[in-house]
């Protein structure tokens, strides 16, 4: 349980609760798969394959995991079903560790004289605005001065939505109303953040499907405009992914990265989906860290992603 040293008991409970369904699902089935068997054989592996695929891990990553277990069986000659659980956990953890990336221990960011700028992007309805509200809450709690930028000027009442979040959390917001030029809003927000010596700026953007060229170009433009105010901005380009999304999440990660150099992922709605497996697939295939996970609609329902804790909770 050492992995949870930095989790308060509360946090761990939310995480466990959020993953409850996944756990029940994977484990009741895994134990069914090995009932009456003492040895991991072809049939057990077939079942394992099904369980992983049904968790949205994806065919490629699933086969990779299975292969690793096969290699172990070949090496150790014998693998008992009782050990399968542990080994699976080890193998997946290791797979996730392969992209060794800085994992943060709390809601913090590198200190600098300039505001730390987070730009939030993603397809429609994944939870960008909500995640921003939750992040603002965390940073505000940590005593940072937060400014939000309402650069989703497209979706009906998007500015209102973010404004309500800003009020709820008690942070400032910069907006130019609906239909304003999003790049101009971002520019304004950064200007204002510099003037007011804010610690962190979070820019909301309109949801867009990654195959729409014009909209993706607009993102690059928003990104570039910020550099005119703060050359290093945005420090964090956060791609928000909905955990219930299937294999398309991988295409989203690819295209948004191409347009905006995404360097962090947030995975939302993990409280709802029965599978958390998309995290495994994405972590395996991208060198971008999953930084935050969303576990509900309230402002407290955001956590830092920690691979070990995640896998642990999954295979406890």
């Amino acid at each position: 349980m050492g992995f949870f040293s930095f989790f308060t008991k509360d946090k761990k409970e939310t995480l466990d609760k959020g993953l409850e369904k996944t756990k029940i699902n994977v484990f009741s089935r895994l134990s069914k798969a090995i009932v009456g068997k003492s040895k991991v054989d072809e049939e057990v592996l077939d079942n394992l394959e099904q369980i992983l695929v049904e968790s949205d891990v994806g065919v490629e990553t699933t086969l990779k995991i299975i292969q690793r277990i096969e290699v172990r069986i070949a090496k150790d000659k014998y693998l008992g079903t009782s050990e399968l659980n542990m080994i699976l956990k080890e193998e997946i953890a290791e797979l996730l560790q392969e992209n060794s990336i800085d994992e943060r221990e709390n809601f913090s960011f590198p200190n600098s004289s300039e505001p730390y700028v987070i730009m939030v992007v993603g397809v429609n309805g994944v939870g960008k605005t909500t995640t921003i509200g939750k992040l603002a809450y965390q940073f505000n709690q940590a005593g940072k001065k937060v400014i939000l930028g309402a650069a989703d000027t497209f979706r009906a009442a998007a500015v209102d939505q973010l404004t309500i979040w800003a009020e709820r959390v008690g942070v400032e917001i910069v907006s130019q109303g609906m239909n304003a030029d999003p790049a101009s809003v971002a520019f304004d927000t950064l200007k204002s953040a510099v003037a007011k010596k804010a610690d962190v700026v979070i820019i909301d953007t309109a949801g867009r499907l990654h195959n729409k060229v014009g909209l993706m170009n607009e993102l690059s433009k928003i990104r570039n405009v910020m550099k005119k105010v703060i050359p290093n901005a945005p420090n964090e380009v956060l791609l928000v992914l909905d955990a219930s999304t299937g294999q398309n999440a991988i295409e989203q990660a690819k295209q948004f990265t191409a347009a905006t150099d995404v360097n962090a992922l947030a995975l939302t709605k993990l409280d709802g989906t029965a599978k958390g497996g998309v995290v495994i697939g994405i972590s395996d295939q991208f060198k971008i860290p999953v930084r935050y996970i969303g576990l509900g609609e309230k402002m407290e329902d955001l956590q830092l992603f920690n691979r070990k804790a995640f896998v642990d909770s999954l295979f406890e």
Partner: protein
């Protein structure tokens, strides 16, 4: 990363090639690939498996049919089977009540509010009905505002209340429609998780209170394996009449559609194909089947082309082509039109067979970047008089656009060819052909 599905099929069917007769072994081999391909398209694991078993049975029963190549036979079997699964007749929405009540349900962010407004717009403009939209999401920040803004856009009244009780709001909305003689009431609701007991009870109570003719389950077409659970859970509580598949303007294969159809046996009635109020379409089972299979969707492609097609513009263009006045400004316009239709690779992928051909050829959006840069470096005179662009002008353009002189030469040549081809067709303004010419290097 993920190979094109049709390519996978080809690979799978290659195993059969040269074998006149379908045997148990080669069918099994082939179907393994088919199964993988379906799973990559987000079809549920169990359903993909079941599907393949069915196809297998049918294939083995057909081993006398040696006149066809086994590969082709398998393609046909797979396609037919899938179309059948997706199929059934397209079912229209039931608006027989008075007022007719439609309840909208689904997960968070699936597209309920947008669809509610699109549907109101559709019923108003296409069916000539009066509609009352009801803001039943009392939880999400600005959810009510969102519906109000949309209602204003389409000129449909939106019923709202300060009350925090969706059941009461829905009831009052229906009463208002009755009082005012409004034909249809559409009730938008908050997004909810199928495992959230309280929220599921709430929507069940809304349903019981207003007894809607239609309850529609709105689902994001990018949904993965979890579609099984959600579709089932919502169906158990609401016994909905139909499904709405949103965000199909994306590039997802949409295997969730097959899963849901298979699990709940309810028709998919509408699809969302964009964020605007008119981006709504009725569901086409065959198109969806070929989309899941990655077999291309030529009908949608043509429709998308038509959508962007401005009659007026086209007529002007046609005249210009006939008189050989088609210039680089028009060319740039056309490129922009094509770009508006969506991702090029995606568009090409909609043409049957092309997806496969294009594999490996890097047609990214940058395909146009060079062209745009070159045209951007031309003077207005040059754009209007392509034939006058001589050697020294070419040199200047290549320097200005950061491209090589060969690139400029190639573009000019291509442009002339396109111009000729267009003149020959003389129908004018046909984007698809312009596109084809552009690609044929």
């Amino acid at each position: 990363m993920f190979e094109n599905l049709s390519e996978k099929f080809d690979k799978a069917f290659k195993i059969l090639k040269g074998q006149g007769k379908i045997t148990e072994i080669n069918v099994a081999e082939t179907l393994k690939e088919v199964r993988k391909a379906l799973i990559d398209a987000d079809v549920s694991y169990a359903i993909a498996k079941e599907f393949c078993d069915t196809v297998k049975q049918k294939a083995l029963g057909k081993n006398v049919l040696t006149s066809l190549e086994p590969g082709q036979l398998m393609v046909k079997l797979v396609q037919d089977e899938l179309a059948e699964l997706m199929g059934g007749e397209t079912q229209d929405i039931n608006i027989k009540g008075s007022p007719s009540i439609i309840l909208i349900a689904g997960l968070q962010g699936s597209g309920k509010t947008t669809f509610s407004a699109k549907l109101a717009n559709y019923l108003k403009t296409k069916k000539g009905k009066s509609v009352l939209l009801t803001a039943g999401d009392v939880y999400r920040p600005a959810a009510i505002n969102q519906l109000q803004v949309l209602g204003e856009q389409i000129g449909v009244e939106v019923y709202t209340e300060d009350s925090k009780d969706p059941v009461q709001i829905a009831k009052n909305a229906v009463q208002r429609a009755k009082d005012k003689g409004i034909n249809i009431v559409i009730v938008d609701t908050a997004g909810r998780l199928a495992i959230d007991e309280d929220m599921m009870n709430e929507i069940a109570a809304v349903k019981a209170a207003i007894n809607p003719q239609e309850t529609l389950f709105v689902v994001d077409s990018m949904t993965g394996q979890d579609a099984v659970n959600t579709a089932k859970a919502f169906n158990e509580r609401l016994d909905y009449n139909g499904v709405v598949l949103t965000k199909l303007d994306g590039d997802t294969r949409g295997g969730a559609a097959l899963t849901i159809k298979h699990i709940v046996r309810k028709p998919i009635k509408f699809v969302g194909i964009g964020e605007k109020m008119d981006a709504l379409d009725i569901f086409h089972p065959e198109r969806m089947a070929s989309r899941i299979l990655g077999m291309g969707d030529i009908v949608s492609l043509v429709e998308r082309a038509q959508e962007q097609y401005d009659e007026e513009e086209a007529r002007k263009l046609s005249k210009k082509i006939k008189t050989n006045e088609f210039d680089f400004n028009d060319f740039l316009n056309q490129i922009n039109q094509i770009k508006k239709m969506g991702n090029i690779k995606d568009l090409m992928g909609m043409i049957p067979g092309v997806g496969k051909m294009m594999k490996g050829i890097d047609i990214n959006e940058d395909a146009f970047k060079g062209i745009e840069a070159i045209i951007g470096s031309m003077t207005p005179f040059e754009r209007e008089n392509p034939l006058k662009i001589d050697g020294s002008r070419r040199k200047r353009i290549s320097r200005g656009s950061g491209t090589s002189i060969e690139d400029v030469n190639r573009l000019l040549k291509q442009f002339e060819e396109t111009r000729k081809a267009m003149k020959m067709m003389s129908g004018g303004g046909n984007k698809l052909n312009a596109l084809k010419n552009l690609k044929r290097r």
